[in-house]
Amino acid sequence: MKQESEWEPKLLGFLCRWCSYAGADLAGTSRKKYPANIRIIKVPCSGRVDPLFILKALRLGFDGVLVSGCYPGDCHYQTGNYRARRRMAITKKFLEYVGVDPQRIQASWVSASEGGKFTEVVTEVTKGLKEIGPNKLFADER
């Protein structure tokens, strides 16, 4: 069995292709270091992210989910991120009520030019996940 100290959180990122994905790309090309804990799925818009994706990721054992899109007003499709904002708000708050640590469900606005912010967000979220420990929510024995 792995030692607790060896455990590294797995973070699933849903990144909007227009802003946050480009931001992540920029972070990479400008050689900014962010934790390798994040696995990235490119989505057309943060508004594409169904709360089901988040639950499914947690069910499959991801320790946290990050949804990242364009800043309000910057959505390539005008309103996608506004809708994502409502969805994320109720998902996060409702799941907190049900018993999911809100640290596991994160959202951010990262623009295409914010390689630095992307690095910070991922670092911060990963740090938070390390603090709260592995996701055992759906394990039969916790």
Binding site: L52, R86, A89, F94, Y97, G99, V100
Partner: protein
């Protein structure tokens, strides 16, 4: 007594609607086959409207049937049902001109399980249960027992904000007053909120381990109007078809997200559940959550956009990094 007058008026109005061809169907309540129960009456026949009743047990949210009936429908609606109808109109599931709403101001519905608990007898062993203003009188073995209405009404009725329909064609009675007990109505939620996070999750694990996937919560919910539900998708398969608590819980969380801004706290999901899962402790929380976040109450304004298709630039985003 008042119910009797409302009932007479309802029968007259319903008959007239059918006779004048203003509606194709009437949906209301008739006497059920078990003691005290009522059952939906869905009819085209003008003679059967004489079976329509109004009493303290008319529990079903009849708007559930609107999406499957073709033609124009005259429907009996209490406060919460009425909001469900409005919500269906907002979602383009029902056209306003296709429904004739026969509004019934609702003083709250008697929860027979609570009565059973209080008197220690099953419903079929009770002689009579009657409502008298703020009191409910239960006759058992010839003996009358009085209870404050707040002890025997459904939890959701105690939290009801709009007992009198706002959107109607005919209002069958004057507005109804509330027997509100907001605290009692949120009792389950308060208990949960008092628990540490992990304990809440454990609570739901235990509750959803009992689920038998009858989907009555979904079937009875007027806001669950999708023709095809995500749980039946197989590519990808979102929910394991094997009824495990984990997937049962995911189903219910997502169902709540889907009905956010549509749920009127009619309480039907919890009442229908054959294995007593306290579903209203989820739905009512979501109901309050969208009210807190977006000042949105389901089914208040037929012109309003559905909550989740709409946004304000000023929506809260303090949780976003």
């Amino acid at each position: 007594m008042k119910d009797r007058e409302t009932e007479q008026r309802l029968r007259r109005e319903a008959k007239a609607l059918l006779e004048q061809g203003k509606v194709d169907y009437i949906i209301g309540f008739e006497t059920g086959s078990l003691k005290f129960t009522t059952t939906p009456l869905i009819t085209k026949d003008k003679d059967s409207v004489d079976r329509l009743i109004i009493n303290p047990f008319i529990v079903n949210n009849l708007s559930e049937y609107l999406t499957e009936l073709k033609g124009r429908v005259g429907i009996v609606a209490k406060g919460c049902d009425n909001r469900s109808i409005v919500s269906l109109i907002q979602d383009n599931q029902v056209k306003r001109e296709d429904v004739v709403i026969l509004g019934v101001p609702c003083p709250g519905i008697i929860d027979l399980s609570k009565v059973e608990g209080l008197v220690g007898k099953d419903r079929d062993e009770l002689d009579d249960v009657t409502r008298d203003g703020d009191k409910v009188v239960v006759t058992v073995d010839g003996e009358k027992k009085e209870f404050p209405a707040s002890e025997v009404l459904f939890d959701n009725c105690l939290g009801c904000e709009f007992p009198t329909p706002q959107e109607y064609n005919i209002l069958l009675d004057e507005s109804s007053s509330l027997v509100a007990d907001k605290t009692a109505s949120r009792k389950g939620i308060e208990t949960l909120e008092g628990m540490p996070q992990e304990q809440r999750w454990d609570f739901w694990e235990k509750e959803f381990s009992r689920c038998i996937r009858c989907y009555a919560c979904r079937s009875i919910c007027p806001a669950c109007f999708c023709e095809r539900c995500f749980v039946e998708e197989s590519e990808p398969q979102w929910i394991a078809p094997v009824p495990r608590w984990q997937d049962n819980l995911i189903f219910q969380v997502i169902r709540n997200i889907h009905v956010a801004g549509r749920c009127t706290d009619c309480g039907e999901c919890e009442r229908a559940c054959p294995v007593n899962i306290p579903l209203r402790s989820l739905t009512k929380e979501m109901y309050d959550l969208v009210d807190d976040l977006y000042h949105f109450k389901a089914g208040m304004d037929k012109e309003a956009a559905p909550l989740m298709t709409h946004y304000e630039t000023t929506d809260p985003e303090d949780f976003i990094k």
